[in-house]
């Protein structure tokens, strides 16, 4: 049986329980025991409000969701949902969105939905224009920035895409050992060189397409590409330049 169906059962059960409780509440006497009317009124009102708050907490914990948009615009990706469901420790996400950006607004809805998948995933949605001081206190300088924090670690992701948030979560929760790669002394270009276009050297001339070339070489262009890929996926902690190595 799907979770959504079970949670719909929870919804009906909670509403039915409230109906029964309120019906019973209407039969309460004007005074409960030896208390006077005012105390009884405070007790009844307090109990009723408390029960409704508890019912809403239960509904929130066992929530079901329906995305009625044609393109399913507010449904988070399966990867993001799986990652959030699997969280074992609390993660706080503060998303500083720009109200005018439809993508950012859609992401706020997705984050709210993801929040209901796991109590460890705690989301705070903040209108960046209305709370510049809060953004500044967290070092946020760009619209649509999500600050992910867990156990003293912190990652900032600028995005309107839930998959980028999922990627950020992966980076935040990673516990693997640090691997240090030395990338000098083998004729590579400098690590700061991001040049990585497909490059051909042939008998006739230098070219960027393969027409009329007999020999194809792509030397020395790998390291910049690797660095960009590692930075993008968050695998690289940092790059240290070896000042003693010969450039090129």
């Amino acid at each position: 049986m799907s979770t959504e169906l079970i949670n719909s059962g929870w919804f009906l059960g909670i509403i039915a329980a409230l109906v029964v409780l309120f019906a019973a509440g209407l039969k309460l006497p004007v005074r409960i025991g030896s208390t006077n009317r005012v105390v009884t009124a405070v007790l009844v009102v307090g109990a009723a409000v408390g029960i409704v708050i508890l019912a809403n907490v239960a509904l929130f914990r066992h929530d079901a969701y329906l995305d009625l948009t044609r393109e399913k615009a507010f449904t988070p990706s399966a990867e993001a949902r799986e990652l959030v469901r699997a969280l074992q420790e609390p993660v706080d996400v503060a998303y500083f969105y720009q109200k005018q950006n439809p993508g950012a607004r859609a992401l706020t809805t997705m984050l709210r939905q993801l929040e209901r998948q796991n109590p460890n995933f705690r989301v705070q949605l903040i209108d960046a224009d209305q709370n510049p001081a809060l953004a500044s206190s967290l070092g946020v300088r760009t619209y649509n920035s999500a600050v992910l924090q867990a156990g003293g670690r912190r990652i900032e992701v600028v995005t309107t895409d839930d998959r980028e948030i999922a990627l950020g979560l992966l980076r935040l929760m990673r516990r693997s050992e640090l691997v240090i790669c030395f990338a000098s002394g083998h004729g590579e270009y400098d690590i700061d060189n991001f040049e990585f276009h497909t490059h051909f050297e042939g008998a006739q001339s230098h070219s960027h397409d393969a027409s009329g070339l007999a020999v194809v070489q792509m030397e020395q262009h790998g390291i910049g590409r690797l660095r960009r890929a590692q930075t993008r996926t968050g695998r690289a902690k940092g790059f240290i330049r070896d000042r003693t190595a010969n450039p090129g």
Binding site: L26, N56, Y65, T69
Partner: protein, 233 residues
């Protein structure tokens, strides 16, 4: 059930005889028509989100005008005691008044379906968010009417009843604004108390059962408190 039907008919007739309902409907539809034309020409987007938000705000301002007289007027004219001493349960009286007022509000909302028809005639609207928006409006109206009746049952002065209702609605609307000042878990309580926080996702086509539950349970609470409060008399 027959008693409830009789009470409902009596209440609905009382509402329809009074000029208040027509005045509220006229103001509501005038402002809504203006907003619809303005947003349609400005954005050229075939959706009703602006209209739903406008209806949300207008309901908060106009529903208290419809509910203020429900019990306050009966108290002032001393017909409430007569009603409560009749062989009907307090709950039936409350449900009848609630259903009659809600019928009027939903009738006014139904007039806005013409905008959906216009969008369908000249564009290709996404119907999912429109259905969800109307569901949100029905639930919103249900909560406002229930709270409005509760406030009306607390006083014999109609203006006080309306002021209490509007005050409560505004507090609920902006409840989440203070969440940043509160410690955990009180911040979550403040966020989840917010009317707009539960209304907005639904209007965009994103329906959480917990949002539906918020409106349903809060309406039930208000109706229970009204009935219980009347029973104490």
């Amino acid at each position: 059930m027959r008693t409830l039907r009789l009470l409902f008919t009596k209440e609905l007739n009382a509402i329809l005889v009074s000029p208040i309902g027509y005045t509220v409907a006229a103001v509501f539809l005038l402002v809504l028509g203006y907003t619809f034309s303005l947003t349609l020409f400005a954005t050229k987007v075939a959706n009703l989100q602006y209209i739903f938000h406008q209806m949300y705000v207008l309901s908060i301002l106009l529903v208290p005008v419809l509910t203020m007289r429900s019990f306050a007027e009966e108290r002032r004219s001393e017909t409430l005691e007569l009603l409560l001493t009749a062989p009907v349960r307090e709950l039936s009286v409350v449900i009848a008044k609630y259903a009659a007022t809600l019928t009027l509000v939903l009738g006014i909302f139904a007039a806005s379906l013409v905008y959906a028809w216009i969008l369908d005639r000249y564009g290709e609207p996404d119907w999912g968010p429109i259905y969800a928006g109307y569901l949100a409006l029905v639930l919103h109206a249900s909560l406002l009417v229930a709270v409005g009746l509760l406030m009306s049952s607390l006083t014999e002065n109609q203006v006080v009843a309306a002021a209490l209702s509007i005050g409560t609605f505004l507090m609920l609307w902006f409840a989440d604004s203070v969440s940043y000042l509160l410690p955990t878990p009180l911040d979550s309580v403040a966020i989840n108390l917010s009317l707009i926080g539960h209304f907005k996702p639904m209007v965009s086509g994103s329906v959480f059962l917990s949002d539906v539950g918020y409106f349903v349970t809060a309406s039930m609470l208000a109706l229970f408190l009204t009935s219980w409060q009347l029973a104490q008399r």
